[in-house]
């Protein structure tokens, strides 16, 4: 069962097209959504949330078409949308007072517990919060209304490692319930590498891969050597190559490379880089 399912999503803008985007966010899993700036991550997320109307394709949330979601269904989605969407004139009490009337199952106690755990001052207004504090407040809201799925667009951008770690810890807690799931986009691939079960990579509006993180790591390795050495490999094994001053490096399919070749471990960031910049 998928909490979020996107199939052949297409949306045309002037100078950019999101093309046949397809992936899913199964229950009980965290899906990392990666891609360069302007690759289409935010547009995809906005389409899932009904903020952008797709030209074609199917988007289902909790098994229902996104256009047919009721208020109660939408209340089950916790969102953090890049730049903070909480009113700047509000303090935490104001936020809680308003959210009580926005979400049917607003958990005030949990909200204050989380904001206290994040050391957010209750009397300060959001406009006096640092970037990290704003993101934490937004995460606290997303986690305080019985959401089943979290859709987080760059929730850790601009945060120091300690603040990022605090947020990631809360996401781990959220995932203790197996019916929950998270779709998270981030530029900080190392965070996603720690957190995610699946990685979806979007490049120039198209999905390059949508795979289990462990499978990606099992599948790919990095070859470093001379062009001559690389030419000895089965061309099918070479996914993409980068030519450097002192040799070449290539993303290769591990199981197609003979054992005598020494390969380096490929991280998600490496894989993304080769798919994005490498020559085929």
């Amino acid at each position: 069962m998928d909490n979020i399912f996107v199939s052949n999503l297409t949306k045309k803008f002037k100078g950019f097209t999101l093309q046949n985007v397809t992936f899913s966010v199964p229950t009980g899993s965290i899906v990392g959504f990666i891609g360069e700036n302007g690759a289409g991550k935010s547009t995809t997320i906005k389409s899932i949330l009904g903020l952008v109307q797709a030209d074609s394709g199917t988007i289902q949330v909790f098994g229902k078409d996104v256009s047919k979601l009721t208020k109660e269904d939408r209340n089950k989605i916790g969102v953090v949308l890049g730049e903070n969407c909480l009113p700047e004139n509000f303090n935490l009490k104001d936020i809680s007072d308003v959210m009580k009337n926005v979400f049917g199952e607003w958990e005030e106690e949990k909200f204050y517990r989380l904001t206290d755990a994040f050391s957010l001052p209750r009397n300060k207004k959001v406009k006096d919060f640092s970037t990290g504090m704003r993101q934490k407040a937004a995460i606290a809201v997303a986690l305080s209304h019985q959401a089943k799925a979290l859709v987080l667009d760059e929730p850790t951008s601009g945060l120091d490692p300690v603040a990022r770690d605090e947020i990631l810890d809360r996401l781990y807690d959220f995932m203790q319930d197996e019916t929950h799931s998270v779709l998270i986009s981030s530029h900080i691939v190392s965070d996603l590498e720690k957190l995610c079960d699946y990685i979806v990579y979007i490049h120039e509006g198209k999905i390059v891969f949508a795979e289990e993180k462990d499978r990606l790591k099992e599948k790919y390795s990095i070859f470093r050597g001379s062009a001559e050495q690389l030419s000895q490999l089965d061309p099918k094994a070479v996914v993409a190559r980068l030519n450097g001053e002192f040799g070449v490096s290539a993303l290769v399919e591990k199981n197609l490379v003979p054992k005598e070749f020494t390969l380096d471990r490929a991280g998600i960031e490496d894989i993304m880089l080769f798919f994005c910049k490498g020559e085929k």
Binding site: L51, E88, V102
Partner: protein, 201 residues
């Protein structure tokens, strides 16, 4: 809807004190001068100023994105600004009627100036809100300042006309203006909803 209105009221909390202060000053000036144009004219400003201020905060806070993603409908968002505008407009306009209790002010002219101004307040709101929904508060700023100036001139013109002409024609004009304002609300709200339904955030 309650959440959205509550959010607006909390957002405007600081300004509401100034609105009350300004209205009190205008109300007293009207009472002392025996001329209710001041107080009634201010209600025309409130009909636009309050919802547009709320929308400008929402644009800054990107509230609409969050609200829509959280289950508030486009219809609720579009209509909530009308409700907010009405609330402030009707309170200030309604309170101006209190001035008619002063015997010296209980005149035919004052009553019909008040009715005409009420219609004008509604018409301005009917015109401004769809424009702001379409192009945003920043771009619409010039537009609605210009519109309010036109309405002010029309208001002065209407007041002068009422004083000069009097009688049945004035009654017809006053009720026509208010009827236009009321009908306009429905048309305007539908246009705003249509704009909002097709908007990408």
């Amino acid at each position: 809807m309650i959440g959205t209105i509550l959010k607006d009221l909390k957002n405007l909390k600081g300004q509401i004190i100034y609105y009350i202060f300004i209205f009190t000053v205008f109300f007293i000036v009207s009472a002392l001068s025996g001329n209710l144009y001041y107080s009634a004219g201010l209600s025309i400003f409130f009909a636009v100023l309050v919802p547009v201020s709320a929308m400008s905060y929402d644009e800054r806070d990107k509230w609409d994105k969050f609200a829509l993603a959280s289950g508030i409908t486009r219809r609720e968002l579009a209509f909530s600004r009308y409700i907010l505008g009405f609330a402030f407009f009707f309170v200030s306009w309604g309170l101006t009627f209190v001035l008619l209790a002063i015997p010296a002010m209980k005149t035919f002219e004052n009553l019909y100036v008040l009715i005409t101004y009420g219609g004008m307040g509604l018409i301005v709101m009917d015109l401004v809100l769809p424009i702001v929904y379409k192009i945003g508060t920043e771009k619409a700023r010039l537009c609605y300042i210009f519109l309010i100036l036109i309405v002010m001139m029309l208001s002065i013109g209407a007041a002068t006309l009422i004083e000069m002409v009097g009688g049945d024609p004035v009654t017809v004009i006053a009720w026509s203006v208010i009827a236009l304002g009321i009908i306009g609300v429905f048309v305007s709200a539908l246009i705003s909803l249509n704009i909002y339904k097709n908007k990408d955030f």
